[in-house]
């Protein structure tokens, strides 16, 4: 073997010229410099994180308390951290794109390829590595607590899901340092992403990051659904579940049925690219419409997968911060189910213009409009919940208010777009970009941020700083409005999406407004980071360890904050919907009991991390054609998996007296504390014990 052969054998098609840093040195134009700088930032960021952990001497604790943990609460937090890191990148890319288009009349400063790479990574990251992990994270943390379970049904599989999601994120991040990501958008339509038009590693990065993360999501869906069906506490009938759990159930059903089309589509595209198949090629009988159908068969349910949990969060937040039982619970449940079913019947509205007959278009158009009905039901239910409630405008409620106003606009433009004749006019314009950001940001992102602010004290034992939270929430709301409402106009004026520049001067003022909005969003993110920093610094003042800072209504608030590993010292006996509110009203909350039992919990395992590492290497090996590494990684995954099945000692038991000791210590603190009224909810005195207030007290005395 010559040395040339050896390097190809060792490194596949990876060489010096695939490094953006090297390219920036070779030809320092602005686009290359930005790419090189991004690579440097990733490397520097990685080094900084490693240094920081070493400085904290936290490696051991990171490994034993977090990475190898099977605790659904820790896994949930790790999902959220991953999502926030990726969100930073996604938002920075968004600002770059906005800056480019603001300068688009004179051509901008980025090459069209670089701009294409930006919207592709931005879209992929925001959907798969921000919205999805945030959803999975919040579900992981909250759902088992709300149904009175000790953990997920399959805690190790849960860890593997996280590992596979992280793999996808790492692959996208690696594409900044090694080579380039796809320029084929987040939907990656062939034949453009096929080998004939795109032989480079870009589409392969997209394929493997999305395919691997997608498998993780399928497993999550199975886990969530089985947990809800099988792990509910005694007395927790389905129709006593908090509404959030209902939305989680519907979301997980969507995960189970809608992720497979994505897996199939990505793997078929991979077969075309790697094995010379002809599923989607232009020649030899390939048919790219199959890809488009498969992709949107996943893609449309996906958006409901994301937004349903947000609806659930909003239901919880509205009920709690209005001090009222959720209005129209049953109708909300059926609306959720209706949306889940309808979400599978409308995928074609993403390609009305791609040549099917008018009748087919009309059928899908009407189906799409139908979704507005159950969604409308929900909005009215939430408003009725607030009516005459004891409303407090805390940070989650600010987000929810932003949601109400803005999301309705997004929904209405959705109904407009569901009309095929209109779509023919505005397809592929910025009107569409405005629409989907208008549902995704006020809907999914605001909903999740509201949830994070609402449940943060549960997870960490202290509240988030209220002032910075308000700043951040308002910046998000106004930033969004400036960044996207102008795009409706510019879209109607005919500006195509995904264009790096334009030549109609009428677009420019609106593009400048949009850039201003994007800058506000960036500041909102900065305010969020500052808020977290300030809150951690002042955690003693903000502490609410007793567990119920908002006068909560559902079971998760009946535990100390943060809850112990096993969640509930004794499994709750559920007697009512909003069981904790009912328990507080008739005095059965915070009761001691004589029958503590031993609790068996799953042990830590490194399996998830091993699979994550091996899958990451597998992805890199496939992207760069390093076949020996690909085979080695597959082998590692299989062996690790089989070896795990030979381990029998996978649980440990916490003795009853340790549990009773911990639980009684907490009860004693609750008894000693003085409960606070809702007026002082955001003051330092809020230790997490609530005075009963209207209308609960009224109801109890009745």
């Amino acid at each position: 073997m010559t040395s040339d052969h050896t390097t190809t054998w060792l490194f596949g098609r990876l060489d010096l010229s695939s490094l953006p840093i090297w390219q920036a040195i070779q030809s320092p134009a602005i686009s290359e410099l930005i790419a090189g700088a991004a690579a440097m930032i990733v490397i520097a960021g990685a080094i900084a994180v490693i240094a920081f952990i070493t400085w904290l001497r936290a490696w051991r604790s990171l490994w034993t308390d977090w990475l190898t943990s099977t605790d659904h609460k820790r896994i949930g937090i790790m999902y959220c951290v991953l999502a926030l890191v990726m969100m930073t990148r996604g938002v920075i890319e968004a600002v770059l794109m906005r800056a480019q288009q603001a300068d688009g009349l004179s051509g901008g400063f980025l090459t069209p390829e670089h701009f294409a790479e930006l919207f592709s990574t931005h879209g992929t990251i925001m959907i798969f590595f921000v919205a999805m992990p945030l959803v999975a994270g919040v579900i992981n943390y909250i759902m088992p607590l709300q149904i009175g379970a000790r953990d997920m049904s399959f805690p190790v599989m849960n860890q593997i899901s996280l590992g596979l999601t992280a793999t996808g994120a790492v692959l996208v991040m690696s594409s900044l340092v090694f080579g380039k990501f796809s320029t084929g958008s987040w939907a990656a339509y062939p034949p453009y992403t096929g080998l004939a038009f795109n032989p480079g590693p870009g589409p392969d990065y997209w394929i493997w990051s999305v395919a691997i993360a997608g498998i993780g999501t399928t497993l999550s869906g199975i886990n969530f659904a089985v947990t809800i069906y099988k792990e509910r506490a005694p007395g927790m009938t389905l129709f006593r579940m908090p509404l959030f759990c209902w939305t989680v159930l519907c979301t997980s059903i969507i995960m189970i049925f809608a992720m497979p089309p994505l897996t199939v589509a990505t793997l078929m595209l991979a077969a075309d690219r790697y094995l010379d198949f002809h599923f989607f090629t232009n020649d030899l009988g390939g048919n790219m419409m199959n890809y488009v159908n498969l992709f949107w068969l996943f893609g449309h349910p996906e958006v409901y997968l994301l937004v349903l949990p947000a609806y659930g969060i909003i239901s919880e937040v509205v009920a709690t911060f209005s001090g009222k039982r959720l209005y129209g619970y049953t109708s909300l449940v059926y609306a959720t189910m209706a949306i889940a079913v309808l979400s599978f019947c409308v995928w074609l509205h993403h390609f009305f213009t791609m040549g099917q007959s008018a009748n087919v278009n009309i059928a899908f158009g009407i189906a799409s409009m139908c979704i507005a009905v159950p969604t409308g039901v929900k909005v009215y239910d939430w408003m009725a919940t607030m009516y005459r409630g004891r409303i407090r405008m805390t940070v989650p409620m600010i987000y929810v208010t932003g949601f109400f106003i803005l999301f309705v606009i997004g929904g209405l433009t959705g109904v407009i777009l569901a009309n095929p004749t209109i779509t023919y006019q505005v397809h592929n314009t910025l009107f569409l970009v405005a629409h989907f950001h208008n549902v995704i940001i006020p809907g999914v992102v605001f909903g999740l941020l509201a949830g994070i602010h609402y449940w943060f004290p549960k997870a960490f034992g202290f509240r988030l700083h209220e002032g910075w939270g308000r700043v951040s929430a308002l910046l998000w709301i106004f930033g969004f409005s400036f960044a996207f409402l102008p795009l409706y106009v510019v879209g109607l004026m005919g500006m195509p999406r995904r264009s790096a520049n334009f030549n109609d001067p009428a677009f420019e003022p609106l593009m400048l407004a949009a850039l201003f909005g994007a800058a506000l969003v960036l500041s909102a993110l900065a305010a969020l980071v500052i808020q977290i920093w300030v809150s951690v610094r002042d955690r003693d003042k903000l502490a609410a360890p007793l567990g119920d800072p908002w006068n909560g209504r559902t079971l998760e608030w009946a535990t100390p904050s943060p809850p112990p590993h096993y969640n509930f010292a004794v499994l709750p006996q559920v007697k009512d919907r909003d069981d904790f509110a009912a328990a507080k009203a008739n005095g059965r909350a915070f009761a001691d009991t004589a029958n503590y039992g031993d609790i068996t919990m799953p042990k830590n395992t490194a399996l998830g991390m091993i699979i994550c590492a091996a899958a990451t290497l597998l992805g890199m090996a496939l992207v760069w054609y390093i076949w020996w590494l690909a085979m080695l990684s597959v082998l590692t995954i299989v062996v690790a998996f089989v070896a795990r099945t030979f381990m029998l000692d996978t649980t440990y038991t916490i003795p009853a007296d340790e549990i009773s000791r911990e639980h009684r210590a907490w009860l004693a603190r609750v008894r000693a504390a003085s409960p606070i009224t809702r007026d002082r909810e955001t003051d330092d005195v809020n230790q997490g014990l609530a005075v009963l207030e209207l209308p609960e007290t009224l109801k109890a005395s009745r």
Binding site: I256, P260, V264, D272, F277, H278, F279, N290, V642
Partner: protein
């Protein structure tokens, strides 16, 4: 009945209790896997036409129905033998009996794979590999995917035979065998679909 399919029964105690969640979870997984196969079938159907065949060989040129029939018989029999193994487990007829019938199932599975591999090699030999046309891509995407599942099932049987020997019939081994059984019968079901939609419909068209 605690879950669809063969139940171990109350006399299995802990294993029976654990089966409720574990087997239910596995059913849900199979449902998801079924979607994958369903989509591959749909793709196949849309490509099994002259446009998809792009002038290349069609079903009549490449399918060997005799061999496919033998494969079908082998696989159906293997489902029967797995069923006998499951019943032996349910009625606690001893490890040896269970292992025997699992062994027979494994042999049949390998036999199926052998015939299938031979057919695949023949197809490649006559220039009917996946690169020839969209139709053949769809075939090579669907049928080997099933074969891959069967191979995974065979490895799983081997692992279970080892675990039965080293651990005995402990609860986790029993619930794993229950799930393996579902998997095996599921693959049979898929094969019935392949036999009908790919082979019979292909030859008769």
């Amino acid at each position: 009945m605690r879950h669809p399919g063969i139940n171990l029964g109350e006399h299995h105690g802990e294993a029976h209790d654990q089966a409720e969640t574990l087997v239910f979870g596995f059913w849900v997984f199979l449902m998801s896997d079924l979607i994958i196969f369903g989509l591959m079938f749909a793709i196949y159907v849309t490509m099994a036409n002259p446009v998809g065949m792009a002038g290349g060989p069609g079903p009549k040129d490449v399918f060997d129905l005799t061999s496919v029939f033998i494969q079908t018989m082998i696989l159906l029999t293997s489902s029967l033998t797995f069923g006998i193994a499951s019943l032996a487990m349910r009625h606690e007829q001893g490890r040896g009996r269970i292992a025997l019938w699992l062994g027979v199932t494994l042999a049949l599975g390998l036999g199926f794979l052998g015939f299938e591999a031979r057919d695949f090699a023949n197809m490649i030999g006559m220039g009917a590999g996946p690169s020839r046309s969209g139709f053949l891509s769809a075939f090579w995407g669907l049928v080997p995917l099933h074969g891959l599942h069967v191979s995974a099932g065979c490895i799983w049987i081997v692992v279970m035979l080892i675990q039965m020997r080293t651990f005995g019939m402990i609860p986790i081994v029993k619930t794993r065998l229950l799930r393996l059984g579902l998997f095996w019968h599921f693959l049979d079901l898929i094969w019935v679909g392949i036999f009908t939609i790919v082979f019979l419909a292909g030859i008769s068209a």
